[in-house]
């Protein structure tokens, strides 16, 4: 599985480019990082790849997933997962139901599904959290659940928009290691938007530096 960006850029409605075009290939198990000054458009780049661009913007260039163009496919068909800065756990569902919601429909049978969810909770060190209300979890716990939910959907690529910026240093380090391990285990490429050089170094993958156009 690979993610390729060919001359990808985002233009506003007045046809002004936000940043210089991006060309990169990210292979599976690699964690690429997108860096750049504040406001240059890291989140917008991620939105463009994932298909969440607001109508004010348009995309130029191509996004290729495993060699197939997905630049103009609807979000639901792209199989590109995304993790935002806030965990965004659905408040009306329990932790377990949140994960069940994310769990891909390829997994059939309620016993099977339950087993996978419990396994995910164990990996995140949140055993017995199935019936908890998301609002009662700490920031770090919520981030872990959000990450597992995104991964349970079995995406081909995972995009992360500064997902750990609200956590303290130590927690950030733990989550990062966890994330990299998951990339290797699930054999998918990841693209991480960050403004921390330490994260880029730890990722040890391709680096995209966005410059204003």
């Amino acid at each position: 599985m690979s993610l390729e960006l060919r001359s990808l850029s985002v233009t506003t409605s007045t046809h002004m480019s936000l940043f210089t075009p991006v060309d990169i290939v990210i292979a599976s198990e690699e964690v690429a990082c997108v860096m750049g000054p504040s406001g240059v458009g890291k989140s917008t780049l991620l939105n463009a790849i994932g298909g969440h661009l607001s109508t004010h913007f348009s995309v130029t260039g191509e996004v290729l997933l495993n060699g197939q163009k997905v630049t103009h496919k609807p979000v639901a068909e792209r199989q590109i997962g995304i993790l935002f800065q806030d965990p965004l756990l659905f408040p009306h569902l329990t932790v377990g139901d949140n994960l069940a919601f994310g769990l891909s429909s390829n997994v059939i049978g309620s016993k099977n599904r339950r087993a996978q969810i419990e396994q995910a909770l164990e990996q995140a060190q949140l055993q017995n959290f199935y019936h908890r209300n998301p609002a009662t979890l700490s920031g770090g716990q919520q981030s872990r659940v959000a990450l597992m939910r995104a991964l349970l959907a079995q995406p081909q690529v995972l995009l992360l928009d500064e997902p750990f910026s609200k956590l303290d240093l130590e927690l950030r380090h733990t989550m990062r290691e966890f994330l990299f391990a998951q990339a290797k285990q699930r054999n998918i490429p990841m693209l991480l938007a960050t403004h921390e050089p330490a994260e880029a170094q730890a990722a040890n993958g391709p680096l995209v530096i966005l410059m204003p156009a």
């Binding site: 298909g51 969440h52 609807p74 979000v75 639901a76 068909e77 965004l88 069940a100 599904r113």
Partner: protein, 413 residues
């Protein structure tokens, strides 16, 4: 109306309540992070519709639960809509109750009172039934969520809904258009698609009658909505400053007049005022309107008020301004648009009140709505056109004012 199933009444109520629920939902949706949650859900493979139904709607419903109950109660207890659009024989319970109350045969007061109680019980049971249905739906949908089902079984369902919405709005607009046509008609017989002769006579003829009804309606509407707004601001500000204790309980108390059928308790109110010799005065009618205008004003204001970032006022006071000055110049200015909208809604509610003006006003306080309803039961549709249009025009003017003034204020700056 001759239809036994009350279909015209149902349709009329749908058209009437749709803008209210839509407006309330729009305000409520601002409290939920809709776009990011939709994006997130779609990235997991759910279609836009599935995302909306499974994630957004369950979060939206608790926020609009109270307005939905208000609509339910109104539908069950409306008298003027039932008179115009409801089945004739037998009429709706609310209408029958009113007819018994108004009958010259005093003995009919007994079944009238019994019917009022029955209506109350019916409303409580309906609300309960509604909640049971909603919870069952939520429960079964949880089961579906656990299965991770992503297929678009919703397409037919939402297809029906999305076509139904514009059709309903179109129907509403069309009826307004017909009303306008009737008001300038002289002669319009059944098979013709358009009036055969036009005239402004209807408007001219009523130049003597309309002003009184218009006057009274306007006075009552302006004063009651102004009072309601002041009270609402005072209540909300006190809640802010002295802690929101008992917030939910007081809110349910405020909504009580909307959750109890009007026909049931207005009669008691009328008797009480009669004893006090206050019946028939315009001040009493204003007070009666206030009972209903106030909850709607609060309902439309409270979310925007609470959503205002408290730090604005904190910053302002830290700059050394007196708290009154901060309140006036910062808080109220920032809330100008919601305040004006709440005021306009108050006006609309007051204009549409039928029973309070009728029963408390004892015939001495006129209103556009009373005239329109009594004319509509009659045969002359041209007069109905005039009154109906006026009745729709006043709230429209209020809403336009509420929407335009903030823009003018912003332009001046």
């Amino acid at each position: 109306m001759q239809d036994l199933w009350g279909l015209s009444l149902t349709l009329g109520l749908i058209i009437k309540e749709l803008p209210f629920l839509w407006l309330v939902s729009l305000v409520a949706l601002k409290q939920i992070d809709v776009s990011r949650q939709l994006n997130l859900t779609q990235s997991m493979g759910y279609s836009h519709t599935a995302a909306w139904c499974k994630i957004i709607v369950p979060q939206l419903y608790p926020l609009i639960r109270l307005p939905v109950f208000v609509v339910l109660v109104y539908a069950l207890s409306t008298v003027d809509m039932a008179q115009l659009l409801g089945p004739n024989n037998p009429p709706t319970l609310a209408l029958a109750t009113m007819r018994w109350y108004n009958d010259t045969n005093v003995q009919l007061l007994l079944p009238a009172s019994a019917a009022s109680v029955l209506l109350g019980v019916l409303i409580a049971a309906s609300v309960l039934l509604w909640e049971v249905v909603v919870r069952t739906v939520m429960f079964t949908s949880k089961v579906m969520i656990r299965s991770g089902d992503r297929t678009g079984k919703y397409s037919l369902f939402t297809g029906v809904l999305t076509t139904a919405l514009p059709i309903t709005v179109m129907l509403g607009l069309l009826s307004l258009l017909v009303l306008a046509l009737w008001s300038i008609t002289w002669r319009w017989s059944f098979p013709d698609a358009l009036p055969t002769s036009w005239s402004y006579n209807n408007w001219l003829q009523l130049i003597t009658h309309v002003p009184l009804a218009l006057q009274h309606s306007l006075i009552v509407a302006l004063i009651s909505s102004g009072l309601a707004l002041t009270l609402a601001i005072a209540w909300l500000e006190v809640q802010d400053r002295f802690g929101g204790h008992f917030y939910k309980i007081t809110l349910w108390f405020i909504y009580l007049p909307l959750l109890v059928p009007q026909i049931a308790f207005l009669y008691g109110l009328k008797v009480g005022f009669l004893r006090l010799g206050l019946n028939g005065s315009i001040m009493t009618v204003i007070w009666a309107h206030l009972l209903f205008v106030f909850p709607y004003t609060i309902l439309s204001l409270v979310d925007s008020w609470r959503a205002l970032d408290k730090r604005y006022v904190q910053v302002a006071t830290s700059l050394g301004r007196s708290s009154w000055s901060c309140f006036w110049r910062i808080k109220l200015s920032l809330l100008l648009r919601p305040l004006l909208l709440a005021w306009a809604i108050g006006i609309a509610v007051s204009i549409s009140q039928y029973l309070p003006t009728l029963m408390i006003g004892a015939g001495r306080v006129e209103s556009l709505t009373i005239e329109a309803v009594s004319l509509a039961s009659g045969a002359d549709r041209r007069l109905v056109g005039v009154y109906g249009l006026l009745q729709a025009l006043v709230p429209l003017l209020a809403y336009s004012f509420a929407l335009l003034l903030p823009r003018l204020v912003a332009l001046k700056k």
